[in-house]
């Protein structure tokens, strides 16, 4: 299990990217510091996927793009039956899907305030 969702901060220009690039997307710098993306993000867009990929059993699978501010975003599964653009979310570790026989884990996003 990973403690927190992390991005990569360029040591030359400070740009944070997620996922990692071997050269910075802004300045082509090659040294990075791993930094936490934070505990709060906002839902930018989402879809409820009914035609499911392998290893996910129950439709729909809700996927969304979340915004951490400062141009840093991530894509992931959204744990909510009623997603709304602009809702506050937080990253939470969990099982994503099975690929072949392997269970894949990673960060998903759940409402920051559980109703």
């Amino acid at each position: 299990m990973q403690e927190r969702l992390t991005g990569f901060k360029c040591k030359r220009c400070g740009r944070v990217t997620y996922p990692k690039h071997e050269r910075c997307l802004s300045c082509r710098g090659t040294e990075f510091e791993e930094v936490g993306l934070g505990d709060e993000c906002t839902l930018l867009t989402y879809t409820k996927l009914y035609a499911l990929p392998e290893g996910i059993e129950m439709p729909p699978l809700t996927l969304g793009v979340v915004d951490f501010g400062g141009g840093v975003r991530a894509l992931g599964q959204i744990i909510s039956d009623d997603p709304k653009i602009g809702m506050k979310l937080r990253p939470v570790w969990g099982k994503l899907r099975k690929i072949g026989e392997e269970e894949m884990y990673g960060f998903k996003f759940e409402p920051a305030e559980k109703g």
């Binding site: 997620y18 930018l44 989402y46 879809t47 996927l49 996927l63 969304g64 894509l75």
Partner: protein, 387 residues
């Protein structure tokens, strides 16, 4: 650089083609293009084959070598070009560069894919592997999911509605019914599209392209030699090719297809033309939202206004700027490696005035947009009628 002309073109019927494998389709399209150009007795210098998944789907690799063997273009320099669903346009671009540079005088470009024998799940998964392995794919992202995320952004920001997507589908179905090569040959209504099954909310089945088999081919030579072979050569006036970050979420603005903007600007600069000079367009509408977004980011309509152009009929066959007279990926079909070449074939027919019932009257200049990923790799071509 030398001016480059398209002197011949041909394609197979797109659709579920029983009894013909990938190489049979590539051979058929290639022979039609060679025959159309009237260069059956000439020596070809190079052959570019656009294909994305022959190894995975049809268990055959090094297919360019196989093609020159089947139709005896030996000893032409033969190679396969893979650039995702833009493999076809990338192959055309490579053929263009080979002639423009002076390295080749006669070039065959063929694109093809055989997809319908595989399970839909297998295709969906293979196509999904174009996405980022750890930041997208593993989370369950599919291409329909990407298109749905973009669609919802557009709805939120620009007032696009589901009805607009349905209208694009209706238009493209209607155009395809005038195209004997098209996969889908039946009409569709706005209500019918809007009641089709939901695949990735807000995206329904009818807002996405089918899975198809097919191949298409063109023959290229220097423009100065084109008149020896063709009555109506078509000049490749410009191309543009640009990439962007792989993940949707890391784009400067996830609602903007920057690679389309850049590739289009480069193509227009090279052709010394502007969007208003274009008479007919083929876009990469693997999902109907993409036709709208591409038409804006290519410069034909203001950002956020593309759906209004659809609403007003501007992009209809008899509109000011017809888009996808062939039926587009939605209805001509999308055998991925063939698509970029088929777009060029359609536009050559349009510029020669040979497009039959779907002819855009008086078309002189044409624009094609082929996508090699979900918006992160775009190849544009601009074609022009000669004389």
């Amino acid at each position: 650089m030398r001016d480059v002309a398209i002197i011949g073109c041909g394609m197979t019927k797109f659709g579920r083609i029983e009894g013909k494998n990938l190489m049979d389709l590539m051979v058929e399209a290639s022979l039609r293009a060679i025959d159309d150009a009237g260069v059956g007795e000439e020596d070809f210098d190079s052959v570019y084959v656009g294909n994305m998944m022959a190894g995975e789907l049809t268990h055959q690799t090094a297919i360019a070598s196989a093609l020159v063997d089947r139709i005896n273009l030996i000893p032409a320099a033969a190679e396969r070009v893979e650039n995702g669903p833009a493999s076809g346009a990338s192959a055309v671009k490579n053929g263009f560069l080979a002639v423009a540079s002076g390295a080749s005088d006669l070039v065959l470009v063929a694109g093809g894919e055989k997809m319908t024998e595989a399970d839909t799940d297998v295709i969906t998964d293979l196509v999904s592997t174009m996405t980022h392995p750890t930041a997208e794919y593993v989370h369950g992202v599919t291409l329909p999911a990407m298109a749905a995320l973009l669609t919802r952004l557009y709805m939120e920001r620009y007032g696009l509605t589901e009805r607009h997507l349905a209208m694009v589908a209706v238009k493209n179905h209607s155009n395809a019914m005038k195209n004997p090569y098209a996969h889908i040959q039946r009409p569709c209504t706005v209500e019918g599209a809007m009641s089709s099954v939901m695949i990735a909310d807000p995206l329904r089945l009818y807002y996405a392209c089918p899975i198809s088999d097919g191949a298409a081919a063109v023959v290229l030579c220097p423009l100065e030699k084109a008149k020896e072979f063709a009555d109506k050569p078509v000049r490749i006036a410009g191309f543009g090719h640009a990439s962007d970050v792989q993940t949707l979420h890391e784009r400067e603005d996830p609602a903007v297809l920057k690679s389309v903007q850049l590739a289009s600007q480069r193509a227009f600069e090279m052709a010394k033309l502007k969007p208003k000079d274009i008479d007919v367009v083929e876009t990469h509408d693997a999902f109907e939202i993409l036709e709208i977004v591409q038409s804006e980011d290519a410069g034909f309509f203001e950002k956020g206004k593309g759906h209004l152009a659809v609403e007003k009929g501007v992009t209809a066959l008899d509109g000011e700027l017809p888009i996808n007279p062939s039926g587009g990926l939605k209805a001509r079909g999308h055998p991925v490696g063939a698509t970029g070449v088929a777009q060029i074939v359609e536009l050559v027919w349009q510029l020669r005035g040979e497009a039959g019932e779907r002819q855009v009257k008086g078309a002189k200049r044409a624009f094609a947009c082929n996508f090699g990923g979900f918006g992160n790799n775009t190849v544009i071509h601009i074609l022009e009628r000669v004389g």
